[in-house]
């Protein structure tokens, strides 16, 4: 099957029903099912679940799958015998794609992206900061989305910052769905996980969109959401902090293209640090605040 995500054409032996299919084109990334070998090159980085060399990352997610991510061009998947395919895809369309983007020198941010009439707006946050729920709340207000969880932004040949479409789904916990009053039935991200794959095809923009603004999202001891503009080096620090799989990035080395995007964002794109109440799921107040800032 041929799919597309992050501006890449993906030829996959492994079925990925979440992705948008495309007609016959020259693939950028090939996904195969097979035996995942040990790394042959010198290991330069590792964690409890992966080893990486300059060109390859080898993941071993116990009882789910092993993945070899090779030079930004190829992924080999070796599922564990008992693994549910949803579990395999949960890691494929997350951690593994993060590695592909790093290997290709593309900057992935841990963020969600919506589209406004003036361009793409990103909500950066660590896991649990509320970025997906916030993006979903904007979706309910009629905004379209470009990506959830992993957001890639590139500098084009004519020096434009463009955010490119990611995966056409969100992963939302049942408590978020409840808060959003979304009572539809969705497939679970993995068996026995209270988190669901919510397709957003109807609200998904399939073309790269100029980047307009970035909000970083943090839980804090505040009653109502507050926003402060970020300036100078603080912008670079935040962007680096919210880089997806930043340990892997550190081990692989930051690419020239990624450095370019960091600095161009810092120079051209307004950024705000938003602190929101850590207590509740209530993201409506945050959404109001962000809409107000964007209307200025």
């Amino acid at each position: 099957m041929l799919y597309t995500a992050f501006g890449l054409i993906i030829a996959s032996e492994y079925e990925i029903p979440e992705l948008i299919t495309v007609q016959k084109r020259e693939p950028d990334v090939e996904i195969r099912v097979g035996t995942v070998p040990q790394l042959t090159d010198k290991v330069i980085g590792r964690s409890p679940i992966y080893e990486s060399s300059v060109r390859q990352v080898r993941y071993d997610i116990e009882n789910v799958a092993r993945f070899l991510v090779d030079d930004g061009k190829q992924i080999i998947i070796e599922p564990y015998p008992e693994a549910a395919s949803s579990s395999v895809r949960a890691f494929l369309l997350g951690t593994v794609f993060g590695a592909i983007l790093h290997q290709r020198g593309i900057l992935p941010l841990h963020a969600s992206a919506i589209v406004t009439d003036k361009g793409a707006v990103l909500f950066c946050g660590t896991s649990g900061a509320g970025k997906s729920t916030l993006a979903a709340s904007f979706r309910q207000r009629g905004y379209l989305m470009l990506a959830d969880d992993i957001v890639a932004t590139i500098k084009t040949a004519d020096n434009q910052l463009m955010t490119i479409p990611g995966f056409p789904h969100q992963r939302l916990w049942s408590d978020s769905l409840e808060y959003l009053q979304d009572a539809n039935e969705y497939p679970q991200v993995r068996p026995n996980l209270d988190k669901f794959v919510v397709p957003i095809h109807d609200a998904f923009v399939q073309t790269p969109t100029p980047l307009r603004a970035i909000f970083t999202l943090e839980r804090a001891n505040v009653e109502h959401a507050v926003a402060e503009p970020l300036t100078g080096l603080a912008k670079i620090n935040k962007l680096h902090f919210y880089t997806y799989s930043r340990m892997l990035q550190k081990q692989l080395g930051i690419s020239q293209a990624q450095v370019g995007v960091y600095f161009m964002i810092a120079a051209q794109i307004p950024m705000w640090q938003v602190k929101r109440s850590s207590y509740a799921l209530h993201v409506d107040g945050t959404a109001d605040l962000i809409e107000e800032i964007l209307s200025r």
Binding site: P48, G94, T95, S176, D194, R246
Partner: protein
Amino acid sequence: MMDGIIWLASYPKAGNTWLRAFLTNYLLNQSEPVSINEFIQVPLAATRDFIDDILGTELSDLHQAEIDRYRSLCYTYYASSPQALTLGGFRFVKAHDAYTRLFDGGYLFPPEATRGVIYIVRNPLDLAVSYAHHFSTTVDQAVEDLCKPELSMATTSHGLAGQLRQRLLSWSAHFNTWNDAVRVSRLLLRYEDMKTDPTAAFEVVVRFLGLEVDQARLQRAISFSSFDVLKAQESKQGFREASQQKNAFFRKGAVGGWREHITPAHVEQIIKHHGEVMRRLGYLDEAGNLTI
């Protein structure tokens, strides 16, 4: 830099942050008190971002048993990682979890990743009052919680939680699991002793780390981490580890203050569940009378 983690272990509200403040001030040895929001060289074992970062994938896609297993692997990794945060050459990690086993028989805090444990214990009656305040609950509920054999904290490891689930167990079971941990070098500190004679208590801590005690430095670190300094810092700049309900993290820090809040029925309930460990730790005397 030596490998292995030194765990700063305790039930919540037993004085762990005080110890962290002392160690940071002593080991950094600066001329001003270190800000309470800058104790960053001592990470918290159950912070989701801390584990996410080491692991290189998102815990939100993992089941609870997998999360616990990966936490354990992350600690083993962290124990010898060149990227670990260090303080004075030591790798400290603060933990509120009991010393529990995983489903596969391994330990959440693996002995092979451990260089030592500093365990702080506090009289459960004072602790219950502090706990009630911190978690915005009643003293009734706090006493009830401390007696639950399977008490857990941050039970939703999903959604918007910044901390992973921590199995605390009951107050005495928590002590017993850490105290029974084999092959682990341990130092036991009583909060009450730290209060009564901080010089003596913190001298023991410094020696436990294998360092010579520098008296001037010790006295300065003790005064820089005193309750009044920490509390003043919190009221001025806030403390990011305060509870979500925005109650002050540093409240009274008193010894024996429980008498104003705790009923005889509470005392009876605590002694019934924890009498044996309380006797062992000197919170009850031979005759079964409360000492504090």
